[in-house]
Symmetry: D2
Subunit: 123 residues, 4 copies
């Protein structure tokens, strides 16, 4: 119960740990170098977009239940390789995400970016 308080259902650290165990049991660390993991992540991102490529934006927003579950599992694959990559590079993903949020808030001030998808370099 104490543990549950510290590691809730959606803790990245908990997932990271489970993935490390998974790989270790299978002796997969030999394959899980950062270069390979970055490739695997990109491969999963490719599988993810394949679900959307022929859909109109409207169709993409109302997937069937079955497709939504397929997409959910592709999203999971992206996250799992992302966590694995960060683990191998000793990157704290949650902390990096927070740093990036701060950076983005500066790059995209509300006043200048409101309602515009323009890249910050062209704002």
């Amino acid at each position: 119960m104490t543990r549950r308080r510290k590691k809730p259902a959606d803790s990245l650290e908990e997932l990271r740990r489970r993935l490390a165990e998974f790989a270790e049991k299978r002796d997969w660390d030999q394959f899980h170098n950062p270069k390979n993991l970055a490739m695997a992540l990109a491969g999963e991102a490719g599988e993810l977009i394949e679900h959307f490529q022929w859909l109109t934006p409207e169709q993409a927003a109302r997937l069937s239940k079955a497709t939504r579950e397929e997409v959910a599992l592709e999203c999971a694959d992206v996250l799992l390789f992302l966590l694995r990559l960060c683990d191998k590079l000793d990157i704290d993903l949650a902390a990096a995400a927070k740093r990036k949020l701060v950076i983005n808030a500066k790059k995209y001030p509300v006043r200048k970016s409101r309602g515009r998808a323009t890249k910050y370099t062209k704002l």
Copy 2:
């Protein structure tokens, strides 16, 4: 304080919420449909691999501090778009990741996959 106990530093739900706020303030929900977000995620995955493409696996495993921070921020970008995509599709990413771990454990039994990078379809 109670809240902090439930949402620790690495909670995906906490990040999801902050991203939703970020987009709402900028009126970006109009751009953040699932199709566009899947593309943005794939674009970030592309930026991520560019860091590794000319490195040997050995070089990729010992990045300079500066490059490691660049990579950390690319990883953050992948996570942020992934969370945004899941939010828009009403997918619980942490739950999906756990379902996928269970599926992977079945696809890759320790006995058959130990020390082998073979895809489950060819095991």
Copy 3:
């Protein structure tokens, strides 16, 4: 002049040869192994989609002249790495493309696939 007749302006073989020369002059063959080239290609594909990610399908179909030229050069990058990859793997890209056209014609018979974006596995 005879040569020009055999290798016209849009010959893949001519481009392949020029790329090989380009790399050789710079002593880049050491970096251009198939694994690295596949990554570089995926990275360029990621840059390409970034141009389209926030556009509606309608906007994507009528790019400004400047953006169209940026996209043209990204497309060029994809082709250049693709040719380089095929060169290193001793794959005749034009011949492979023709084999694939024949395969696709079988996978997607006109009668079954007319007006449908359904993958052949689900036709």
Copy 4:
């Protein structure tokens, strides 16, 4: 015979034309807008790298005959969507590739880039 002289086996224009016919017969132009085609291309690039992700650079350089053919067909897919995308955007891919070669020759002068994989922005 005259035609054969102008359009050799590896002409991009010839492939472009065959793809346009293929799509037209199936009434697929409705799906083949530039945004969707860019996604499809990225998806194929993702499938391509999946073949290489767990291989060492050495293994990637000596694929089995069967894997090499799989890779050849993935390369074909990338080219086919690339040509389709360029067709829809009215981009002359071969001409763009030549423009890019000229640009690259300036970005990467032999003297500065010899034996180095450094990006031109950091040369």
